[in-house]
């Protein structure tokens, strides 16, 4: 589904990613862990098409297309979803309005008619239950006045409505208490399927207790320095990032 080859990215003159190679197949859950400043968030931003990054070398192929050539909204419509590390507040735009506008933009791209109003309401009400959100959330402005946990749940709600092929979760677990983490994880787990892949970026091993990855990668200084199974995360937790960094050096 996703193939990243020798990806080099810089911001201004500063090289951040220095040759990432990563292949993600449908159905797989990948976790990328790493110390602060390793380039984890840069990778998620580049995949979603955020401006301000220069690709100096390498390629990203998504479902056979050159992902980097697509506008951000086209990537989203093609099924690449980024759950933001810091979801933004949009005063004056209700959650339900955003969800419907997003879904219809995606459907239009797929050549489908606009979603029927009743069907949409049924769908949304179904999904908010999954994330243990109150219906009143739908009518509130996007993320405005939401707690940290509510914002992250809201991101997963958006994913649940849009049903993307590739979900990039950028530190979705940061700042969550255990209860919120359980709800968010349950939401993510319910989205797991044979034709959907996940790329989870996290700083903490704790998330992986709730969302079991197939493959764990360690990102340090702009490169993937080690990959392994779920047990790698435990080893990292125990030995710290210095251990892999030293190994790589």
């Amino acid at each position: 589904m996703l193939s990243i080859k020798n990806l080099h990215v810089s911001v201004g003159d500063k090289a951040i990613l220095k040759g990432i190679n990563l292949t993600i197949n449908a159905g797989e859950v990948h976790a990328i862990m790493g110390p602060n400043g390793a380039g984890k968030s840069t990778l998620s931003h580049v995949l979603s098409g955020k401006s301000g990054y220069t690709i100096t070398e390498g390629s990203v192929t998504y479902k056979g297309q050159d992902l980097l050539a697509l506008a951000p909204e086209i990537r989203a419509r093609e099924g690449v979803f980024l759950a933001f590390q810091y979801p933004l507040e949009i005063p004056g735009v209700s959650n339900i309005y955003l969800l419907k506008a997003a879904l219809n933009a995606m459907r239009q791209h797929q050549g489908l008619p606009e979603v029927d109003a009743m069907d949409f309401l049924t769908l949304v009400k179904d999904k908010i239950k999954l994330l243990e959100m109150d219906q009143s959330f739908l009518y509130r402005s996007v993320n405005e006045g939401f707690s940290g946990g509510e914002k992250k749940r809201n991101e997963i709600l958006q994913a649940a409505i849009l049903e993307p092929s590739l979900c990039v979760l950028d530190e979705t677990d940061s700042g969550l208490d255990i209860d919120a983490l359980k709800i968010v994880s349950a939401g993510v787990n319910s989205l797991r399927s044979a034709d959907r892949a996940f790329l989870m970026i996290t700083h903490y091993q704790r998330l992986l207790d709730y969302i079991k990855p197939d493959i764990v990668h360690v990102l340090a200084d702009g490169k993937i320095v080690k990959s392994g199974g779920a047990e790698l995360a435990l080893e990292l937790e125990e030995k710290g990032y210095n251990w892999v960094e030293e190994q790589a050096a």
Binding site: S48, G49, K50, S51, A71, P72, E73, A76, R77, F81, L82, F84, P87, L88, I90, P91, G92, V93, S94, I96, Y97, L98, K100, A101, A102, L103, N104, A105, M106, H109, E114, A117, L138, Y139, S141, Q158, L162
Partner: protein, 432 residues
């Protein structure tokens, strides 16, 4: 230009048997003959040119009892309210509905009040604003035709809003009205003032004096939807006694030249919440002035005015907060946020803080700008293209103020007007 008005209005005699009123009118006329309409030399009028009053001599609108309910009026009268309709500045009883007001609550036209309760009017008149405030107040004092008098007795809570609707129907005329609104101790009321008119050149001058006794609570909405050819001046002057609360929502959408003054004088631990939204296009000029006086300790004032200006529209925001030496523990904030949608649009914004007390919390801020790039990017990450994202965010900028309207029917009415200006595809009103 004031000479023409003096001449025209002098012929139009307002006869009264009340000596105190005749003396107020005479003094105001004298004042107006000296100062005339405000000019840009005056600091408070620096950014607003009233040449529109010169181009057309707006004659006093005469009473037209034959005015029939129009579709426009029907659209604006809200369900479930007590209503008072002023047609060209004159109260029209046939179009109004005051049935079922609580005992001892007085709601009537100013003309009737001057007959039925002259002592009450005398006690309040010119107590919240004087003829020296500006030439427009002097003009209004001297030549107001009618208006609304509303008195809510102590501990009485009006269960329905009172809606005052100003309809201008005649070209080249002026409706000049005066309201007195008084809430006694711990009384509570909601007042909605709506301004509409035919698509013609006309002028509307509406001055209100509002008195909130101890612990009284008033929520007031102003829906200014005048014709784009009209001149509008609305002045609201409020005296707030101890612990009283005043919440104001000012929606300024219409007028060729439109100005609103909201001045409040806060008593001890009183609070005011001033919200404003102005939306201008073509060559509209929309001016909003607020003045909040903290003369007693522990009072709270919160202010947020937002503006969206397109084409060659121009707006002015002047917000003054005065904190007197004895007004310790004042808590005040004032924000003005503007979105310029075209290169030719203009905003002159001037927040002013004058603080003479030392133990206060005061904040203010102004922004003039474009839409937030980060929000556009967030929406793009949710499948929405840039143009649609910008449209959504422009609407949202305005909608943030509309959402503050608690009256459901009024909310829908204002929302419809905002959606007319910034259409949203596939939106359902009850979602917002």
């Amino acid at each position: 230009m004031s000479e023409q008005y003096l001449k025209a209005y002098d012929e139009h005699r307002f006869v009264s048997s009340l000596p105190w009123l005749n003396s107020i009118r005479a003094s105001a006329k004298q004042q107006f003959s000296q100062v005339g309409f405000p000019t840009q030399i005056e600091e408070e009028w620096r950014y607003t040119n009233l040449a529109i009053l010169n181009k057309t001599l707006f004659l006093p609108a005469v009473l037209d009892n034959n005015f029939l309910e129009t579709e426009c009026l029907q659209q604006h009268i809200l369900p479930d309210v007590w209503s008072m309709v002023l047609v060209d500045g004159h109260f029209n009883a046939a179009l109004s509905n005051l049935a079922g007001l609580p005992d001892n609550t007085l709601v009537m036209s100013m003309q009737e009040a001057l007959v039925q309760h002259p002592e009450k009017i005398e006690a309040y008149f010119s107590q919240a604003v004087s003829e020296e405030e500006s030439g427009l107040i002097a003009f209004n004092n001297s030549w107001f035709m009618d208006g609304v008098f509303c008195y809510v007795p102590a501990n009485c809570q009006l269960e329905k809003p009172l809606q005052i609707i100003h309809v201008s129907t005649q070209a080249n005329t002026m409706a000049n009205t005066r309201h007195i609104i008084a809430l006694d101790v711990s009384a509570q009321a909601e007042i909605i003032e709506t301004f509409i008119g035919v698509d013609e050149h006309y002028a509307c001058v509406a001055v209100s004096e509002i008195f909130l006794a101890d612990n009284a609570q008033l929520t007031a909405y102003k829906m200014q939807s005048e014709s784009d050819k009209a001149f509008h001046f609305g002045g609201l002057y409020i005296k707030q006694a101890r612990d009283s609360q005043f919440i104001h929502h000012n929606f300024a959408f219409g007028g060729r030249v439109a100005r609103t003054d909201v001045h409040t004088d806060l008593g001890q631990a009183a609070s005011c919440d001033l919200n404003g939204l102005y939306i201008g296009a073509s060559r509209q000029h929309i001016d909003n002035h607020t003045r909040i006086e903290h003369n007693q300790p522990h009072a709270v004032s919160k202010e947020l005015y937002k503006g969206l200006l397109d084409e060659r529209a121009r707006a002015v925001f002047q917000g003054r907060v005065l904190v007197a030496e004895q007004a310790q523990k004042t808590d005040s904030n004032m924000y003005n946020r503007n979105l310029l949608l075209s290169d030719k649009a203009e905003i002159d914004t001037k927040p002013q803080l004058e603080i003479y007390a030392d133990d206060v919390k005061c904040a203010h801020g102004v922004t003039v700008g474009q839409l937030d790039e980060k929000l556009i990017a967030y929406l793009q990450a949710r499948c929405i293209d840039e143009a649609t994202a910008k449209n959504m965010l422009t609407f949202a900028f305005a909608n943030e103020m509309v959402e503050k309207v608690n009256n459901k029917a009024l909310y829908k009415q204002i929302l419809a007007k905002v959606l007319e200006k910034f259409p949203q595809k596939g939106i359902e009103a009850d979602w917002l």
